[in-house]
């Protein structure tokens, strides 16, 4: 029975443990920080920093959709990289099958990228 695909004996417990450990580590660090660091709040410190001036203008502005499009592109190609990671870890065990599967995945996304580039999605204005 191939160990990788077998039902893990402890179920998903190890996964839960790592999540708790990771989150816990972060939380403890932040808590310790709030205990130790000096905190002297004052109204000027709470002001938005604008190169030394009083903040002018308003941050709530209608943003152009261009920004939103670039954000979406980032998400797509980042998630693509996330999928590469597990493959890279089990590269040998997955063998040729995994390789071909991944190449198809990358090919599809590459097609999307070329389509995007062709249609001027990467141009700013």
């Amino acid at each position: 029975m191939n160990p990788a695909t077998a039902e893990p004996a402890l179920g998903y417990a190890p996964l839960l443990l790592t999540v708790i450990l990771a989150a816990g580590f972060g939380a403890v660090m932040l808590l310790l920080g709030s205990l130790v660091r000096p905190s002297k709040p004052n109204p000027v410190k709470a002001l938005a920093y604008e190169c030394g001036n009083l903040p002018i203008g308003d941050a709530r502005l209608p943003m152009r959709t261009r920004f939103y499009l670039f954000a979406m592109l980032l998400v797509i190609f980042d998630v693509e990289v996330v999928f590469l990671l597990p493959w890279a870890v089990n590269f040998l065990s997955l063998g040729l099958f995994g390789f071909i599967e991944m190449m198809i995945f990358l090919g599809v996304l590459l097609l999307g990228y070329v389509y995007l580039w062709r249609n001027g999605g990467l141009q700013w204005d």
């Binding site: 130790v36 000096p38 905190s39 002297k40 000027v44 410190k45 920093y49 030394g52 001036n53």
Partner: protein, 171 residues
């Protein structure tokens, strides 16, 4: 400062915590990138390879005051600049220090005019004054060494009522 500052008398535990905190603060004094005039050029020289402020852990010039510990006032402070300088100082997190670099920041320098603040200590509390117009890089490095000594004397323990003896003026 959180829950433990100024709460306990000076004892073994606070000394240990002090040592750790002060070690971290003294050797990573991040200056805010804030050059006003001619002294700023000498400040950049101190940062680059030959004078190498990195040996003292202070080569990271943070553009935003939010991530800085030291404000080096390098140049002439004018009345138009004073409120901005004060606001930048207020927007820096504690513990923060000020180095008044050069004659202009220390006492107005050669510019005794209508538009120049005669010394930045009328605006922000200054820790170290550096003489020179502009000071040589060695002066600025000496200022950082002095500042590190001062940082090492900081403590979280409860300070007794008044630390220095009152100044007695002989009759």
């Amino acid at each position: 400062m959180g829950l433990i500052d100024g709460r306990f008398e000076k004892n073994l535990a606070t000394d240990a915590v002090d040592t750790v905190l002060n070690l971290g603060r003294a050797y990573s004094l991040w200056p805010v990138a804030y050059g006003l005039a001619c002294c700023a050029i000498e400040m950049i020289h101190t940062m680059t390879a030959r004078w190498d402020l990195a040996r003292f852990g202070a080569e990271v010039f943070r553009p935003s005051p939010r991530q800085a510990d030291v404000m080096i006032v390098a140049g002439t402070v004018t009345h138009k600049m004073a409120p901005i300088l004060r606001r930048l100082y207020d927007q820096m997190p504690e513990p923060k220090f000020v180095i008044a670099m050069g004659g202009c920041a220390t006492a107005g320098g050669p510019f005794r005019t209508y538009s120049v603040v005669q010394g930045v200590d009328t605006i922000v509390p200054v820790d170290i004054y550096v003489e020179g117009c502009p000071p040589r890089p060695e002066n600025l490095i000496r200022a950082f060494v002095l500042l590190q000594e001062r940082v090492k004397t900081m403590t979280i323990a409860k300070l007794p009522r008044s630390t220095e003896p009152p100044i007695r003026i002989e009759a």
